[in-house]
């Protein structure tokens, strides 16, 4: 086992468990075998050197990437959720997430809400933007947003459908002090509802977590 896991598990509304999970990109090792289990309500942080596989781990958990070896199981309300259905239960925000620049902030999120089949898309969009402090820029096109505002939009995207599992890859990047305070508040609120997993090397972010998973790969996607 290559992970240092701190603190015991608690409630089981949502649970994420990896067993000897490993991944490669060609000959490059992305994740050394890692095993852990997280049970909601919990905030956990994945840390490790650049290239140790934090982003890859979150992508696998979100169902965006198929695990190379081992397993990464997600259960919600006692039911296993296969990777192809995880989009319904997982809110994901990461640097790889981009938006349609020709559409406004609210048009982007309304599209997401409608595609997800939310019952009241406009209300969900308004609430999500309010939570991340972006309501005043709802009508602006994404192309006109600063990096910090795009980061807030990523968070709003992840929160929009009120998922029980939040996967946040470097959620504080580009955020100012007020943005980081908002992030800490939102993560605290989400912990009450479920499971929050943060990939980060920023101490201000991993200090929000109750559990820490240290990926001990050699970093920089070393060759096998």
């Amino acid at each position: 086992m290559n992970a240092a896991l701190v603190s015991p598990a608690t409630v089981t509304a949502a649970a994420l468990e990896t067993r000897e999970l490993a991944h490669r990109y060609g000959r490059r090792v992305a994740i050394e075998p890692v095993s852990f289990r997280l049970d909601a309500p919990v905030i956990a942080a994945v840390t490790g050197p650049n290239g140790s596989g934090k982003t890859t781990l979150l992508k696998i958990a979100a169902g965006l990437l198929r695990a190379g070896r081992g397993t990464c199981a997600l259960a919600v309300a006692g039911r296993d959720v296969p990777p192809s259905e995880r989009r319904r239960w997982v809110g994901y925000a990461g640097p790889a997430l981009s938006f349609y620049e020709e559409l406004s902030v609210s048009e982007n999120l309304t599209f997401v809400a409608e595609t997800r089949g939310l019952e009241a898309p406009a209300r969900a969009v308004g609430e999500a933007l309010e939570r991340v402090g972006l309501a005043a820029r709802a009508a602006d096109r994404v192309a006109a947003l600063s990096s910090g505002m795009v980061q807030r939009l990523r968070l709003a995207f992840a929160l929009l459908h009120r998922p029980p599992v939040l996967l946040l890859d470097e959620p504080g990047s580009h955020l100012d002090d007020e943005g980081r305070a908002m992030l800490a508040r939102v993560i605290g609120e989400e912990r009450r509802a479920g499971l929050v997993l943060i990939a980060t090397n920023d101490e201000r972010e991993w200090r929000l977590a109750e559990q820490r998973i240290e990926l001990r790969g050699r970093g920089l996607g070393h060759p096998a």
């Binding site: 965006l64 198929r66 989009r87 981009s98 048009e107 595609t115 997800r116 995207f157």
Partner: protein
Amino acid sequence: MPSNGSNSGAAVWAILRKECRSEWRTRYGLNAALLFAITSLTSVSFAVGRLSDRPDLLSALLWVVLLFAALASMGHAFVREVEGHTLTLLRLVASPTAIALGKLLFNLVFLVVIEAVTVPLYLVLMGAPPPRWGEFLALLGLGSLALACATTLVGAVIAQTRGRGALFAGVALPLLLPVLAAAVSGMRSQWAGGPIVAEARLLAAYAVALFGVSLLLYDHLWED
């Protein structure tokens, strides 16, 4: 908690509307397609004059103009998502099949708009004899459906490959040739007063086969 009634119909409809809105805002394909259609039509009509007694040439030229006018945009429906880094967003909110069906419907709408401008102009500028409208529209519709199915499928397959521009032509050619052959032959027969049943059946069967293959493939296309 998320809406678990995440419904594919709603997702397809939302993706179609998003595609239309993005195209309207950016005119990525529409302007280029209309420019190509109008300039090629004008050039051909100046060069060869009216072709009222040549149903073979009329049929071939009509489909050549439609094909090239449409290809520039339709082949890029997925490439734009990859190059704009928005494919991750789409994958996080909808199934690959819903994404592809939304794109297919958009490609069909796009073709209808191109045809609404191009076909009347073509009939007037080339001095085409009055078509048998039922047969003419049936061939146009079935040909467009087969064309949209083929270009959407190829666009989805090549979207994440390197050298996708060159690949598109290479992969699309064998899929498009039967469509063009049947559409041109049917259109010639329509203008010559002959039956079009065989060509219409071929186009319909080809469109259904491509659509069926697409449904089988789409869920596996973007697994990393």
